[in-house]
């Protein structure tokens, strides 16, 4: 890697189009995420935010355009897709922890199977990240025995155990009871401070203000505006962004 690694692109999407049947879900999306950059994706529901980040790790396939992750150009081959997924962690709205495995087992499965890490090393890494998300003492519990906020923090730890180069967050606090939102956001803020590259779909504008390098606004499958949070929140250029912010901030 070059010495300018902090400013080079880790994820590049260019001219990305996606359709679900007749529905044009992503329209010519261009997005560049630099190493260490934190991006918050926002926009009205159905605007394509989740679809966009799900394309980055190939949970959704695209029909046109190009996505490059850490120098790997995504195509549909299993080898390439697996290579990208190894480097990109994802956190889902509904946690998606494996119910039949303990917290620790949830965290060690992929490193052992995918990275071929020894069980002892996988456990050590898992404990390290579980401590980091402040849930180390729950390692032997099952997901159903934890609160939503705890489950989501485990999901973050599970993704981190793969030592990914970037993390994707798909509305990580939307399924949580209000009192648990903060613990998850705090975990994400901690991660951001350590320099993790992050793309977050979220409506938590406080979080966006605090950690985002750029806020990207989407509507109807298009990126309509991308700006630093201060600029975006104080003086949004796009009329739809203004409307959106008016609606969302009215409740805060």
């Amino acid at each position: 890697m070059s010495q300018a690694s902090s400013s080079e692109a880790l994820i590049t999407m260019s001219g990305v189009d996606k359709w679900y049947g007749d529905f044009h879900a992503l329209k010519g999306v261009d997005l560049e995420v630099r190493r260490g950059e934190k991006i918050v994706l926002c926009g009205p529901s159905g605007s394509g935010k989740s679809t966009l980040i799900r394309c980055i790790n190939h949970l959704e396939t695209i029909q046109k355009g190009r996505i490059v992750v850490d120098g790997i150009a995504l195509d549909d081959s299993a080898r390439v897709v697996d290579a990208v997924r190894r480097e990109v962690g994802m956190v889902f709205q509904s946690f998606n922890l494996f119910p039949h495995m303990t917290v620790l087992e949830n965290c060690t499965l992929a490193p052992m199977r995918v990275r071929k890490v020894s069980p002892a090393d996988a456990k050590a890494t898992a404990r390290k990240y579980l401590e980091k998300v402040r849930i180390g003492e729950q390692a032997n519990k099952y997901p159903a025995q934890l609160s939503g906020g705890q489950q989501q923090r485990v999901a973050i730890a599970r993704a981190l155990c793969m030592e990914p180069k970037a993390m994707l967050f798909d509305e990580p606090t939307s399924a949580l009871d209000p009192e648990m939102v903060k613990e998850v956001l705090d975990t994400m803020i901690g991660l951001a401070r350590e320099g993790m590259t992050m793309v977050c779909v979220t409506h938590e504008m406080g979080f966006a203000r605090q950690v985002a390098d750029r806020v990207v606004f989407m509507a109807d499958g298009e990126i309509l505006e991308a700006a630093e949070p201060e600029t975006f929140f104080k003086n949004p250029q796009n009329p739809r962004a203004r409307t959106f912010l008016g609606e969302i901030l009215a409740h805060h």
């Binding site: 790790n57 889902f92 509904s94 039949h100 499965l109 992929a110």
Partner: protein, 222 residues
Amino acid sequence: MGYTLDFQPVIAGLPDLLKGCAGTLLLAFSGMILSLAIGIGGVAVRGSSVRTARWAVIAFVELIRNTPFLVQIYFVFFALPLVGIRLPPTPTAIIALGLNGGAYAIEIIRGGVQSIHRGQIEAGLALGLPRRDIFRFVVLRPALRAVYPSLTGQFIMLTLTTSIASAIAAYELTSVAKLIENESFRSFEVYGTITLLYLLMSWGIMQAFGLVGRRYFDYPVK
């Protein structure tokens, strides 16, 4: 003209009947293991990307589920020697029971797999797990848990179906009973007794399944 009950032949034949029970249980458990292997393997293949393999599984399931077991067991018994495989009746019966139970197990387990939330699979994919690992480590256990009662029912059914193996003289309870009946003509006593024995075996297997289920699927869910 009254019928006088005479259990003497049954009592004399009790050691043989109990050995017959052991034979039945051997057929049943071997058949179950084979069924489970075919069931899990069949579901894995049916979900694969190889079209011909998928169709082969579907064809197998349809063939088995739409033909009588008695015909299937005769078919295995008389068809295998044609391809040079000569097996005694008991292994033949196990193969037939395994194939039959396996076809039903495929359908049951497939239902369980379909009940697994898409998010579970996506979580596995996002972690970079290959599809076969997702099936094996993420999907299989919750899927089996979801259909465990149906699977138990199917395996009780398989246990009772072992009696049809008497048609090829495999060693099991019904064959033994037939022999005793042929010598004593005490049909009612003999078949009454083995009815009770089958009932006891079914009940025991049900308890065993409950025990295994509580151990293997003992994780909390919301």
